[in-house]
């Protein structure tokens, strides 16, 4: 007995299972495709929302008012702030620049500041926090650490917007995980039922195989292989549909959102996620088939 020959026989029978799968096989493949398309669409949405959220998050800076005298001490504080792990950038604003900004900010009322001798503004540092992909930086904690720096008088941070963005991101992540699990369960049930139908369709053939000396492994492996093929083909089909949808929607979205959000490009999912979805389809296909084979193939 040759193991290679045995495996190649099982693969041939697996191919036969795929070819004779008929409607149940096609339906299971379609469901897997739908699952991959749904998860992929959601992931694309999430990737692009995160990008927008990070832009929003990073545009909201923390403002440090200093009570130091001279540029050297202010620069030293800026350097210390810039070294903090959650800080992406720290920029020093001189008292003159701060005054000019205040005038601009006040508009017509700013004229009142002109000629006001003796009005001095403090040294200011603008801190841009990081906005990583896992969620918004904990700005409260960062503000607290910055406030503890010697020479920092006050820290202003508009945390409200960031908290809202952060909460939305968490909600999207949670909903994404729930959706993913739900779709995975549906795909497993559908694939499992499709395999059950295949097993029922082929029960006579399976019985004959067993009567001529086929082992359980010889009978089961082709069905599991068919599940694998169905899972991979289904996921690939769903992702091809996603790629086509992305290609056709990208230009529409660019035109619709570019005014509000600068130049907005609808980014696709990262490559690893495409590969992960194909692997996921394969795993679900195998899991569904194995589940059915174990439960319904008592031969």
């Amino acid at each position: 007995m040759s193991t290679v020959a045995l495996v190649s026989s099982m693969v041939r029978h697996g191919g036969r299972s795929v070819r004779s799968g008929g409607l149940p096989f096609f339906f299971a493949m379609l469901m897997t495709a739908l699952g991959a398309f749904s998860i992929g669409s959601y992931a694309t949405l999430l990737v692009n929302f995160q990008r927008v959220a990070s832009t929003v998050g990073e545009s909201v800076a923390l403002v440090l008012f200093l009570n130091v005298e001279g540029a050297v001490a202010a620069e030293e504080l800026r350097a210390r702030a810039a070294l903090m792990p959650d800080v992406r950038e720290a920029a020093l604003i001189t008292p003159e620049q701060a005054l000019a900004r205040a005038r601009r900010g006040l508009g017509d009322a700013g004229r009142a500041l002109e000629g006001s001798a003796g009005l001095t503004m403090p040294w200011v540092i603008e801190v841009t926090p990081r906005f990583d992909l896992a969620g918004a930086t904990d700005r409260e904690a960062l503000a607290k650490r910055l406030r503890e720096l010697p020479g920092v008088d006050e820290v202003m941070h508009p945390g409200g917007e960031v908290k809202r963005v952060d909460a939305l991101m968490r909600l999207l992540h949670g909903a994404g995980a729930f959706l993913g699990v739900l779709i995975a369960l549906v795909v497993i049930v559908v694939v499992s039922n499709a395999t059950k139908l295949t097993v029922l369709q082929r029960r006579e053939e399976i019985a004959i195989m067993k009567l001529v000396g086929a082992t359980d492994l010889f009978v089961q492996t082709p069905l599991v292989l068919a599940g694998l093929v169905q899972g991979v083909l289904g996921a690939a089909l769903g992702l091809v549909a996603l790629a086509l949808a992305h290609a056709s929607l990208a230009s529409v979205v660019k035109v619709a959102l570019s005014g509000a959000l600068g130049t907005f490009v609808l980014e696709p999912m990262p490559p690893w996620l495409w590969a992960a979805l194909v692997c996921g389809g394969a795993v679900l296909g195998v899991a569904g088939a194995a589940l059915s084979v174990r439960r319904f193939l008592r031969v």
Partner: protein, 237 residues
């Protein structure tokens, strides 16, 4: 080769046993016929020998293995050394004739080329060399029976079990099937046939007659068949 000691078999819910205290020995190279009316236990006895049933009592030894104590995982190993010809052929109807015969070799892990070559060779021997790629469902009853025999013989089994191999066939075709079985026997295969076909019983072969699950007669080969057995068999046929 095959030994049965006080074997009984009772199907769940049945009011009487299918086999009752059957003791029998079949030596290597014998050609044995199980005769008897329908429900006598012929098919049940064959099913015990290829592990389709497990005896509810007694011991069944095939090639020294006690089938009553055989683990389910070892059953395929036993079946690969036994060729079985079923009354209803048990062919894969949509598969080609060649695929049907090749299946028995494929499950043994034989190389693809060897499988194709041997399967085609045996099919030529049974006179179906010109129908290798035809779906089995398109063959006549006699041809399907020959495919079933080819599938049983292609593994060169030590034991060939046949359940009513000539049932539903006309005399000419039945004679053809008998010749195939005799050829296998001459090559050294132990042949066990369950039948009520007088054409088979008429030869000089050992006949074990069953009634109500019990052996009522065991007539050795080359002994004249008692007229009572022949008459009883003809009545059933």
């Amino acid at each position: 080769m095959i030994e049965l000691f006080h074997v009984s078999l009772r199907y769940p819910g049945a009011d009487r046993p299918a086999l009752d205290d059957v003791t029998l020995e079949i030596r290597k190279g014998e050609f044995v016929l199980f005769a008897g009316p329908s429900g006598a236990g012929k098919t049940s006895l064959l099913r015990l020998l290829f592990c389709a049933e497990t005896a509810t009592g007694g011991q069944v030894l095939v090639g020294g293995r006690n089938l009553a104590r055989l683990k389910p995982t070892r059953v395929p190993e036993v079946r690969r050394n036994i060729g079985v010809v079923f009354q209803d052929f048990k062919l894969l109807p949509e598969h080609s004739v060649l695929d049907n015969v090749a299946l028995a070799l494929e499950v043994q892990g034989r190389r693809f080329e060897e499988v194709q070559e041997r399967a085609a060779g045996v099919l030529k021997q049974v006179g179906l060399g010109h129908k290798l790629h035809q779906p089995a469902e398109r063959l006549s009853g006699g041809e399907q029976q020959r495919v079933a025999i080819a599938r049983a013989l292609v593994v060169e089994p030590a034991i060939l079990l046949c359940d009513e191999p000539t049932g539903n066939l006309d005399a000419e075709r039945a004679q053809g099937i008998l010749e195939l079985l005799v050829t296998a026997h001459v090559r050294g295969t132990t042949v066990v046939v369950a039948t009520h076909d007088p054409a088979l019983l008429g030869g000089s072969r050992r006949v074990v007659r069953l009634e109500d699950g019990r052996i009522v007669a065991d007539v050795p080969a080359f002994a004249p068949l008692p007229a009572a057995i022949l008459d009883a068999t003809r009545r059933v046929a």
